[in-house]
């Protein structure tokens, strides 16, 4: 307990590492949150486009066009335009003042006048093009075969979707979640910093502290286990802080299975600490080079798990499936994802099993090197 407690103190007071393993993920989470919030906010804040129609005789007589405009200007969820029917002078004054995005004039054909280009103007143009296209199609069919008129009109009034959204659970599919899951995976892998620090402080050929500890009458396995337990404790505590922040402050959903979320975090942290220990024992470079390799490895793994591009994980799973099975970050991300999205735990436990297999392999290989008690040179 003495050695465990002091090891914990030692690691927890390493401010630089605490920044990278705790504060940095919290900052990233906050940035993700605001970026997605803005994106979602923009979608939710869509307001109907103001448009003025010149109330000419042609407009009054063109019932089809009036009905079409009426349908898309009806107040409600699908309202696309806010229609103002007025005389030509007033219509162009509204356009000049910026009160409307365009002025529609109806003569032999339908015309649109805009004062600038933009998204709203493009939408208006697309709407009018669609109307013109449909009008031409329908009048063409009716001219050729007037008998189908009734059926054609019924068909046109129906909006039919040929794809269906299916959910595997009661959870709402959310593409932004993968970013947060990949962020947790990154934080778990950043536990590797603690594993790396442990190996440096343990080996006589890497640090004077390691030499002093190696000369002490304590079994090497004991030192390894105490250090590993301390690294795991601090790494897990950091992931818990991040999870609490995501769940309670940023309201990110992880489904309703808290124990499985904890299990994923624990196994993820074991994978992270093992990765650090593995790099620390097998890479025979300076401490700075080892840290660089650890950051590079964990960031690449997190990138492939979808930290920066949400479709990356699926793309890797389709194009290079083996990579998905050996990438701890992808396994952690997928474990969270499958917890959220699937009712069944089969895929979740496959991920956990693979993570444990990878972690135990790295741990055993590291210990085989660490247990060496004497060194060829110091």
């Amino acid at each position: 307990m003495h050695m465990f407690c002091y090891r914990l103190k030692c690691l927890a007071r390493d401010r630089e590492l605490v920044f990278w393993t705790l504060i940095f993920p919290l900052i990233l989470a906050t940035m993700f949150h605001f970026a997605f919030d803005q994106l979602m906010g923009r979608q939710e804040a869509f307001s109907p486009i103001g448009v003025a129609v010149v109330a000419s005789d042609s407009y009054q007589q063109n019932i089809t066009f009036r009905q079409a405009l009426g349908a898309i200007s009806e107040p409600g969820e699908s309202q696309l335009i806010e229609l103002t029917v007025t005389d030509e002078r007033e219509a162009f004054r509204l356009l000049e003042d910026g009160a409307v995005a365009g002025v529609i004039t109806v003569g032999d054909s339908v015309g649109l006048t805009v004062s600038q280009s933009g998204i709203e103007q493009s939408i208006l143009k697309a709407v009018l093009d669609e109307y013109a296209h449909r009008y031409a199609t329908v009048t063409g069919i009716l001219r050729a075969n007037p008998a189908v008129a009734g059926g054609l009109i019924r068909e046109l009034r129906q909006t039919r979707s040929y794809t269906q959204q299916i959910s595997f659970s009661s959870a709402e599919p959310d593409t932004t979640l993968n970013f947060f899951y990949a962020l947790i995976a990154m934080t778990c892998l950043y536990g590797g910093f603690w594993g790396l620090r442990n190996t440096t402080d343990m080996q006589a050929d890497l640090s004077p502290q390691g030499a002093r500890r190696s000369a002490a009458p304590t079994h090497k396995l004991g030192v390894v286990l105490y250090d590993l337990a301390a690294a795991l404790t601090i790494s897990l505590a950091e992931v818990m802080v991040l999870l609490a922040y995501l769940m309670l402050v940023l309201r990110v959903s992880f489904g309703n299975e808290s124990w499985y979320v904890l299990l994923t975090s624990l196994v993820g942290c074991i994978a992270g600490v093992s990765l650090g220990a593995f790099i620390g024992t097998y890479v025979r470079k300076s401490e700075g080079a080892k840290t660089g390799i650890l950051i590079g490895t964990s960031m690449t793994m997190s990138f492939l798990a979808g930290l920066m591009i949400d479709t990356m994980k699926d793309m890797i799973a389709r194009k290079a499936p083996v990579l998905s099975y050996i990438n701890p970050a992808a396994l952690i991300t997928d474990a969270f994802y499958s917890l959220y999205i699937f009712e069944s735990h089969r895929r979740f436990f496959l991920n956990i099993g693979l993570l444990l297999l990878i972690s135990s392999s790295m741990c055993i290989l590291s210990f085989l090197r660490l247990r060496r008690d004497r060194y060829a040179s110091l």
Binding site: K9, C10, R212
Partner: protein, 310 residues
């Protein structure tokens, strides 16, 4: 013998670091291990501590073969490394407690030992300080406290006073003497001849992985040709007087430059009286007179050679 090293051979690739090296350390000694850079002092200590592998030879500590799992022997050994081996994230008292805890498991006993070690090295007022707040000298003292807190019977100190101010150095040397008085056997390596001369009861001079000479400081001084050196402040001295002085008994060299006559002897008695009698007989008026006995530095340079080393 507390430590016995027999025919120890250690190679770093093509470099022969220890060449059939032998060493014996008796109980209660303060043994000084002297040698130029790269002579094998630290390698010897690391082999004895079972930190390094070696190619040939045998090492016994407390009469038992030394091995990484010789926990009983290790329990009675204290080490003070050349590089400061403390954790920057732990305070002074926590560092001492941590390393002491690797030897002493009883928390109550350990608390007492930690307090004693901190007082011993004079870090009482700094016990709540983090290492980065300590000066170089205080840091070295902390390094020592971490190595000796568990009251070991055998202590290895590998250049513990490197880059330390004179006050801290004196404190450290006093401490080592005190440890020895309390019954600890000390193996001490240093580059500072005067430290070894003041401190050590026996000295081993090594170079290129071999023992060149061993004995008390008096025995070592007796091994070299140099005796005392006498310097006399003289304003006038003729060349024939210098030539005469060179012919006097036991004189090995005599030079006159910058109004100073310097005469080197290879032994003999009453050299100073004889020289002054001669100067008076020649009516030569002289100023200040100095007589210096050979130092360990002279012995070291004589034995290891005077050419520069890397």
């Amino acid at each position: 013998m507390l430590v016995s090293v027999h025919n120890l051979v250690k190679r770093y690739g093509d470099l022969l670091a220890l060449d059939h090296f032998n060493l014996e350390v008796g109980e209660g000694e303060i043994l000084g291990l002297l040698g130029p850079n790269g002579s094998g002092k630290t390698t010897t200590i690391n082999c004895i501590l079972s930190l390094l592998t070696y190619d040939k030879g045998a090492i016994e500590v407390f009469g038992k073969p030394m091995a990484p799992d010789a926990y009983e022997s290790k329990r009675n050994i204290g080490i003070v490394m050349q590089n400061v081996a403390v954790f920057q994230e732990l305070r002074v008292d926590e560092n001492v407690d941590y390393f002491c805890g690797m030897y002493v498991y009883d928390a109550k006993i350990r608390r007492r030992l930690v307090d004693e070690a901190i007082d011993f090295v004079g870090l009482g007022e700094f016990r709540k300080f983090y290492p980065k707040k300590l000066s170089g000298g205080l840091l070295r003292r902390l390094n020592i406290a971490c190595g000796i807190a568990h009251k070991p019977k055998l202590i290895f100190l590998d250049e513990p006073t490197v880059a330390v101010d004179p006050q801290s150095r004196n404190k450290i040397l006093e401490g080592i003497r005190e440890l020895n008085r309390q019954g600890a056997t000390v193996v001490y390596t240093s580059h500072y001849m005067e430290e070894v001369e003041q401190l050590c009861t026996r000295i081993v001079i090594m170079d290129k992985g071999k023992t060149l000479a061993a004995g008390t400081k008096e025995e070592l001084k007796a091994m070299i040709n140099d005796g005392e050196t006498i310097s006399v402040e003289l304003y006038v001295l003729r060349a024939d007087d210098v030539a005469h002085i060179r012919q006097m008994p036991h004189v090995t060299r005599a030079e006159y430059a910058d109004n100073h006559l310097t005469v080197h002897y290879d032994g003999g008695q009453h050299n100073l009286l004889n020289l002054l009698d001669y100067l008076r007989s020649r009516d030569l008026s002289f100023g200040r007179v100095f007589s210096e006995q050979p130092t360990l530095n002279d012995v070291f340079l004589e034995i290891t050679g005077r050419q520069l080393r890397d």
